[in-house]
């Protein structure tokens, strides 16, 4: 933009200053604002249209999932994790099941792992499609939403056929998968992959070169690599800042080392880079799905797991690369049928912290773009 001076002279907040100057004002954005993707409330301190500081108020969707876990058996808690990041429920299930399997040292059969990879990557596509559609909608491009949701519908149909639910899937069980692939599963998944490639080009045709999109996203919400690492940001937000960190490569879990894929990274860490990273990630996901379907082994889908699960006393942390970043489960077992403590490390909650760094000194309209690009789900932020 030509008037770059406008951004540069944003005053840094003086320490200990509690009152507003006569030119400053406070604006509540949310919790019912449509572009906060749920019930996020952001208190903005403004000087005209310039953002001087933000504060996030969260907890409107708090359901006490971690506390619920202490009163459920390990198998019973499994459906609740789907309700945290409801856009990517399958990934949540993978993380939780993986953590409990680590705790009881269960060996998941290869076929179950491949099925898990296929479904999780499909879920990554679905999650990124929701992100792309709503993010573009926030910025003013209404068209991509229709196309992304059309394709997401096909993924949800595959989920419904596989496990009987579309959104809160409860697809995996501790020790493997409950359901085997249905008749024609591989054919349908491959057909979806083949249809999805040109559609990703369509999304890019709509956005990547679109002048309005480029001007609304290039240079907006820049997060440097040092800031990103210092804030603990993970997922596409971190990779958009140019850090090549993906748990699927860094600490391979669930047979991810069998597959050949790349980690796309951005250069400057602005909103446009994160958009490019996520689009590339969708292409990489398709690559993984194709390899997993081609190499889907025969065999059992469930490990030998006792009916009444009594893990040994101990604690475990297991994290996976969810569509939004590192999703970790920390489980403490006291040897009984119910966990002593379950702590979830949600990617959205941690990524949301970067909001202040990214919007300070920018305009109010950029806050909308930055919340969109962080790809938060409030069910996961508040749990």
């Amino acid at each position: 933009m030509s008037n770059s001076n406008f951004y540069d002279d944003a005053p840094v907040e003086a320490p200990g200053k509690t009152f507003l100057d006569s030119t400053e004002m406070v604006l509540n954005m949310g919790p019912q604002h449509p572009s906060t993707h749920g019930v996020l409330r952001v208190i903005l301190k403004l000087d005209g249209e310039k953002v001087l500081g933000t504060e996030c108020v969260i907890g409107y969707l708090h359901r006490g999932v971690e506390k619920i876990a202490e009163n459920r058996t390990y198998a019973q808690f499994n459906p609740y994790v789907d309700r945290m990041d409801y856009v990517a429920a399958v990934s949540n299930g993978l993380g939780y099941c993986g953590a409990v399997e680590k705790l009881i040292s269960a060996e998941v059969p290869k076929r179950a792992e491949y099925l898990r990879v296929i479904l999780t990557e499909l879920n990554r596509l679905a999650s990124h499609q929701v992100w792309l559609g709503t993010h573009a909608l926030d910025i003013g491009a209404i068209t991509p939403l229709f196309y992304t949701f059309r394709e997401r519908e096909e993924i949800l149909k595959i989920f419904e056929k596989y496990c009987g639910a579309r959104l809160t899937t409860h697809a995996f069980r501790i020790g493997g998968c409950q359901y085997d692939a249905y008749e024609g599963f591989d054919r349908e998944v491959l057909a979806f992959c083949d249809a999805q490639d040109p559609r990703l080009d369509e999304y890019e045709e709509l956005l990547t070169t679109n002048r309005i999109w480029v001007e609304r996203t290039k240079g907006v919400g820049i997060l440097s690599a040092e800031d990103a690492i210092a804030l603990g940001v993970t997922g596409p937000v971190l990779r958009g800042s140019g850090v090549r960190w993906d748990l699927r490569k860094a600490q391979p879990y669930c047979s991810y080392k069998d597959f050949d894929f790349e980690i796309p990274i951005g250069l400057t860490g602005d909103t446009f880079d994160r958009y490019v990273v996520r689009i590339q990630e969708m292409r990489q996901s398709l690559r993984i799905i194709r390899q997993a379907v081609a190499g889907l082994p025969e065999g059992p889908i469930m490990a030998k797991v006792p009916k009444v699960l009594k893990p040994p006393v101990g604690e475990v942390y297991h994290s996976i690369e969810a569509p939004k970043g590192e999703l970790g489960y920390y489980i403490v077992s006291d040897g009984s049928t119910q966990p002593y403590r379950v702590r979830v490390r949600p990617p959205s909650f941690v990524n949301l912290q970067a909001l202040d760094v990214m919007v300070r000194g920018r305009l109010v309209a950029d806050v909308v773009a930055v919340i969109g690009t962080l790809d938060i789900v409030l069910g996961e932020v508040d749990r």
Binding site: R83, T143, A165, Y182, E205
Partner: protein, 153 residues
Amino acid sequence: MSVAPLLRKIFLVDLIKGLSVTFRSQHPDELITEQYPLERPWIAERYRGQPRMAVNPDTGESLCNGCGACALACPEKLITVTSDRDPVTKKKYMTSYTYDVSRCMFCGLCQESCPTDCIELSQDYEMALYSREGMTLDRVRLEKGPEPTEYAR
């Protein structure tokens, strides 16, 4: 400004590019909106909807043996099973069964735990009611199964 971006700006190249995507999807075969009450949506075989209890088709007896595994498996403790023991055959049998669907999240743990494949989640999904009162299903309702609503224009 160099010439190429200027020309792109004048001739609205990005607008035309975007609209070409829109016009490519105009064919009537591309319509994907379902006219819901008139057109019933496709439901998968494994769909988890309203619960029902299976009966033996020959004798009309319930398959439930009153073991209570579903009540134990349910994370929200929505199922209540009472059972009694036959004084002659010493076999356990179910005396009453209630299922509170108002808080059910259709996780399917009950049907997985059932040793006789009695309780199952059916393909019916139209369960909306104006109050929670009718949502506790008893044995009669569960054995009768879902009654899909017919719509007429």
